[in-house]
Amino acid sequence: MKNPDAKAKIFQLPELTYRVWKVWRRNVDVFMKTWKVNFFPPLLEPIFYLAALGTGLGYYLGTQIEGYSYTQFIAPGIVAITIMYSSFFECTYGSFVRMYYQRTFDAIIATPISIEEVIAGEILWGATRAVIGGGIVLAVVAAFGLISSPLFALILVVAFFSGLMFSAMAMCFTALAPSIDFFNYPQYLFITPMFVLGGTFFPVAKLPEALQVFAQAVLPLTHTVNLARWLMFGSSELSIVISIVWIAAVTPFFFVLAVNLMKRKLVK
């Protein structure tokens, strides 16, 4: 049916019940079926980064960044990148495959679960992936003795909320994607800039001024990195209040948008 007020409804608050968890549980069950594959490769990736960039590249840098060794400096960046990748790819490629190729969403909405709850469950699962991925990397970083603040465990909380944010954004792309190839756009135009410009491998302050503004105002990862760095070392580039407010403001916006965009896409 053509919905004349579809535009107006794009920011409608979704009605959600406990059934969101059933969608989440489905994804947990699939994940746990192959948990070995899901846990061990992500464990190795940060080791490669720390070895290549921290030890290798860091040797030639020779200087400390803001009082930390280069390996230490990039540690929160690597954790944050994993948080971003885990959630963003789960809710783009992962959700798209479930929606389009497997028709899993169609099967679920024939039960008492609503489409809004399916999308919310998927986003919640994306956030869970961020916690799992971030947690694994955090454990590696801690094992290398790179952390100096006891607050570092709170990075898991940051992982969850950042994961929600990235998943919600990813889900908006999924709602707009005509085909799976479409994800090249967000991957190269959104994820890659964050990977290199988000304060991950060098301070945002060393960017040209225009890019500094861009990195802080537009790129979500900058704030995840900032919070992770603060929780690891007790100090960071930007005020953590700004980062918390930024994530807290942006996440609900994209969450509501994602649910409504997906509803519009799937209910025709």
Partner: protein, 256 residues
Amino acid sequence: MVHCVLPLTSGILSVAGMNVSEKPREIKKMIGVAPQEENLDPDFSVTTNLLVYARYFDIPREDALKRVENLLRFAQLEDKRDVRIDQLSTGMKRRLILARALINEPQVLLLDEPTTGLDPQARHLIWDKVRSLKKQGVTIILTTHYMDEAAELCDRTLIMDNGKIIEVGKPAELVKKHVGEDVLEVDYDPEVLKFLQERFPEARLETAGDRIRVFTDQPHGVFEDFLKDFPAKGATIRNANLEDVFLKLTGRQLRE
């Protein structure tokens, strides 16, 4: 629309006295849906598909395990319980979809073309299951393009064309009403056609492809008599069926 996924375009739709726009969850709880497109969960085995689906309906695990056992038996999938979905044949998938639609013990079952693409054995197995569910008192709404399937299974048939209901009734009554008892088919020949028109002035003659079909509501035997006098090429006499009704009412143009 009946299972509360698509919004209504107009009018009011209620299932078991509940309005679909107001009580979608209550309705979805009591209906089972077996879609035409295979949407089993490829990430799970046969049993897990049913168990996860039971969870969507809030069925307690103990209860779900019992139901899954019964449904595996019902769908003759007991040997396949731990098999992944991509290793099932089309017929097995259809049976599993049917079993999945029954996990909540629905009062209303929606079957969307349940036998499309199946071999005769698999098709008859599904038919048997549908009949046994009918006997248990489940209301079944079945859509199909196979007129023999509709005639075989349905108590009431709705013929739809371009989204509009154009005829309603019991299959046998519809056949009698629209196409009569017997049909004579012969190979096309202008001579034969002329002759048939003279012999059966009241009958409906249809030429399609290279065949002539004669529909009459006269009693059995008239065509046999005719063939004795005039042994036309490629002649067969058969019972009129629901397919004749459908083609008469909707025409022979492709519906695309």
